[in-house]
């Protein structure tokens, strides 16, 4: 176990990371708010608070670079929220740049490297050039009969919001609300949501002693354009009393207002804070009196360790089952029955435990989508293309480790889509498309898989260009080029070198090929498919397993060796009698319910020797399907289903394609786990097509 200081530091780094992610979402909302023409002040304040907290944290943990940047950003955001600076596109760009710099600084911190960061220096200089440019006008707070007790407790920001609202000729209201202490968080959140449509809540103030042990009155100071009747209609309830705070007749300063009991909180409702408060993070309190902090952060390695234990227990369970079988054979009926009962109960509990751990590992894809939204904005600006990003299914949950690994591949795909797919707006106008290109990011669950689609409405992939390039690179023989189906041609973009710049597009300074994307996705046990219509757009679909931690597998024998095929990829198994298969286009295939199914003989691919037994007369076909592709893996025997924990192969075998790892079989033996994704890929890739053809011809 790490020592407390190290733990505290880890805690600090994860909190900082979360804050930066919140800040990033916040800036995106702010960007949208700026575009819509009315800047939501609550968003600016949220951003300020995020940076403010980062600064405090950096100070506590001696992270000087982080502290320095946060300090300067805090100044800028303070100027913004207090109306001393105008939120221009330049300022917003600088703020977005800060997200990336924060990312870099946090990795440096994590790695314990304390060298200076040029990116941070550059940003600091840039922030330095942004000066306060808007005069802070004093608004006539004294024109209202505001309780001085209230004015005394407003923070500088709240006072600014009050003035800003008064400048806009808003009316002021005091809402006295009695809350049940146990449900105050939820009740207040509801209240805020409803109030938001009518104005801005400026502050919340406890109004004296709690009326009972379980309830408390708050005064909310609210600014609104609506009249009293409208507000009462919208927010009135048994526990809410709304009063308008009148304007004074004379504007005598310092005249003490009538002494009110308690303090008042007046609020101005703005159209702000909706999604932001929802995304506020795991700190939000539950309703219970006792629940101070209901969330804990857990290092995922600890969950992996637990999952490993579950794996070991699953092996124990298997051993118990076999023991029960032996006892039965030996005629020990009483003992067999008892052992079987135990086994069932053990099995149930183990399944619960496994499900529990898996659930903890799950996080919504929204985490990575938010980051991508930032990238879209940035790339769009870089390339002067207007991009509309439509996200659906961000609540879809997937293994935390997968999410972490997804952001790079998805970023490249989106970059490609904007770079190569979306046409310049002039061109789009010519072909009758709306000037803004649309990128849709859709996620949904399908059985044990999560599907993620990246779809654009751009020009589509130029098949001929892809084909030409693949031939030029020697990926396929020219004479084969004409025989490829459209699907096969599109699949060529995933071969090394084919998708990078020139042919497919003229842009792409960063030239990340789709082959890298595909490799990264395959490493997660997933595959990627592409569909494209010329002039209409391109859709890339990623199919991923929900978790990496534990896998139900079909255990099979091939040439005396045990292999595990992840069940999530198995669609069916059937027996294969001699004479069922035939050769089509150089591939061994069978016909399954009227459709051609390509076969893959692993013993040949892997050159397995059949020492003890000759190839059996009758064998089996396990149909493996990933995305739209199916492949029949020929095996000698089907052993049965088993839950396995996949352990990585040793370094010497790590680069061997076709295997996801190894697993213990419970009888001290080890089985290899087939990596269905890479086997299917291999079988369907253009190179394989070409190779198989040449071998079958030769």
């Amino acid at each position: 176990m790490a020592d407390p200081t190290e733990r505290a530091r880890d805690e600090f780094l994860s909190e900082a990371q979360e804050i930066v992610e919140t800040l990033s979402r916040n800036l995106l909302d702010l960007d949208a708010s700026v575009r819509s023409g009315s800047i939501d002040p609550a968003l600016v304040n949220e951003a300020f608070r995020a940076v403010h907290t980062l600064k405090g944290l950096a100070g506590l943990f001696g992270a000087a670079r982080l502290g320095h940047l946060s300090h300067r950003l805090e100044d800028v955001l303070d100027d913004l929220r207090l109306g001393r600076m105008v939120l221009s596109a330049d300022v917003l760009d600088a703020l977005f740049a800060a997200i990336d710099v924060y990312g870099r600084l946090l990795s440096l911190e994590r790695e314990g490297r304390d060298e200076p960061s040029p990116a941070a220096e550059e940003l600091l200089a840039r922030l330095e050039r942004l000066g306060a440019d808007a005069p802070n006008r004093a608004a006539p707070v004294t024109e209202y009969e505001l309780d001085p007790g209230l004015l005394a407790v407003l923070t500088e920001y709240e006072e600014h919001r009050l003035r800003a609202n008064l400048e806009q000729k808003m009316r002021l209201y005091r809402l006295r609300v009695e809350f049940d202490l146990t449900t105050i968080d939820k009740a207040l959140e509801d209240m805020k949501t409803r109030a938001k449509r009518h104005g801005e809540i400026i502050t919340y103030l406890p109004a004296g002693e709690a009326t009972s042990a379980d309830a408390i009155e708050l005064d909310l100071l609210m600014a609104s354009r609506d009249d009293l009747a409208t507000l009462i209609g919208a927010l009135g309830a048994d526990n809410v009393v709304i009063e308008e705070i009148p304007r004074r007749r004379s504007s005598m300063l310092n005249e003490p207002a009538r002494p009110t009991h308690g303090a008042m909180a007046l609020t101005a409702a703005e159209s702000a804070m909706p999604s932001v408060s929802a995304g506020e993070g795991p700190i939000e309190q539950g309703p219970s009196l006792r629940s101070l902090t209901q969330t804990v952060r857990v290092d995922i390695r600890k969950l992996d360790a637990l999952m490993n234990v579950v794996g070991e227990l699953a092996i124990v369970r298997g051993a118990i089952a076999r023991l029960a079988d032996r006892l039965r054979v030996e005629g020990q009926r009483q003992l067999t029955a008892e052992l079987q009962r135990l086994h069932r109960s053990f099995d149930r509990r183990l399944a619960e435990m496994q499900a529990g751990i898996l659930e903890v590992r799950m996080v919504p894809l929204g985490q990575v989508f938010d980051r991508l939204a930032r990238v879209v904005r940035q790339i769009g600006r870089e390339m002067s293309k207007e991009i509309r990003l439509v996200i659906t299914g961000s609540e879809t949950e997937i293994d935390k480790l997968i999410v972490e690994e997804l952001s790079d591949p998805l970023m490249h795909m989106i970059r490609n889509a904007i770079d190569h797919g979306i046409e310049p707006s002039a061109r789009r106008a010519e072909v009758g498309k709306p000037p803004a290109g649309t990128i849709a990011l859709n996620a949904y669950q399908k059985g044990n898989h999560v599907m993620i689609e990246v779809e654009d409405d751009g020009r589509g992939i130029d098949e001929q260009a892809v084909l030409d390039k693949a031939v030029r690179l020697g990926k396929i023989a020219p004479e084969d080029a004409t025989e490829l189906s459209r699907e096969e041609v599109l699949a060529l973009v995933f071969l090394p070198g084919v998708s990078t710049s020139q042919t497919v597009s003229d842009l792409s300074g960063r030239g990340v090929g789709m082959d890298i994307v595909k490799t990264n996705i395959a490493r997660l046990g997933g595959i990627i498919d592409v569909q494209s219509e010329p002039g209409i757009g391109t859709k890339m679909t990623i199919t991923l397993p929900i978790t990496l931690a534990i896998v139900s597998a079909l255990m099979v024998h091939i040439a005396d060796q045990v292999f595990a095929i992840p069940l999530s990829t198995v669609s069916e198994a059937l027996s294969l009698d001699t004479g069922m298969s035939r050769t089509l286009d150089g591939r061994e295939v069978i016909t399954l319910r009227g459709q051609t199914l390509q076969l893959c003989r692993l013993d040949r691919v892997l050159s397995l020797e059949r020492k003890k037994t000759p190839a059996p007369r009758k064998s089996y076909v396990v149909v493996v399907s990933l995305g739209n592709r199916r492949l029949g893996v020929v095996v000698d025997h089907l052993v049965g289903q088993q839950d396995i924990v996949i352990k990585p192969l040793g370094r010497s075998l790590a680069s061997v394609r076709g295997f996801a790892g190894a697993t213990e079989l419970g009888d001290q033996r080890v089985g290899l786990v087939l990596d269905a994704a890479s086997i299917v890929d291999e079988a369907f890739s253009g190179s394989e097509v070409a190779r198989e053809r040449s071998t079958s011809l030769g």
């Binding site: 909190e15 923070t155 500088e156 101070l292």
Partner: protein
């Protein structure tokens, strides 16, 4: 037993304050309660009185100043020392806090040692006896 309530919405800062106070060089025989927001503080205050309340000023719901005012009006918490935590830039808010009845302030970022020193300044001696 000294009861201290820490009101702060940043989990790391809360954890830092707690571990500092509970450490050997911290406060002897201390019981630290954590409130994650102004509301949370309202929920926890009736379990007082506390020997000291440490509160952030900038919080999303009830701010630290409002908390000070609320406590000063309450019989139970009238006398409780309150230590404000704030950023260096918010001099105005700090001054207001003191005027409202806060006992002292500490500017973020602060070192553990400074925190402990400041806390000892405001904690009343146990049983009114000697130098604690």
């Amino acid at each position: 037993m000294r009861k201290i309530l820490v009101v702060e919405d940043s989990p790391s800062t809360r954890a830092f304050v707690r571990s500092t106070l509970e450490s050997e060089s911290g406060v002897a025989d201390v019981e630290v309660s954590e409130a994650t927001s102004g509301f949370d503080a309202l929920r926890l205050l009736p379990r007082g009185p506390y020997d000291l309340v440490i509160t952030d000023i900038n919080m999303p719901d009830i701010n630290g100043l409002e908390l000070v005012q609320f406590m000063r009006k309450s019989e139970l918490h009238k006398q409780t020392p309150i230590l404000l935590i704030s950023t260096q830039s918010s001099e105005r808010d700090r001054q207001r806090g003191i005027r409202l009845g806060a006992s002292g302030y500490l500017a973020k970022p602060f070192a553990g040692k400074a925190l402990v020193e400041e806390v000892h300044k405001h904690l009343r001696p146990v049983g009114g006896e000697g130098h604690g």
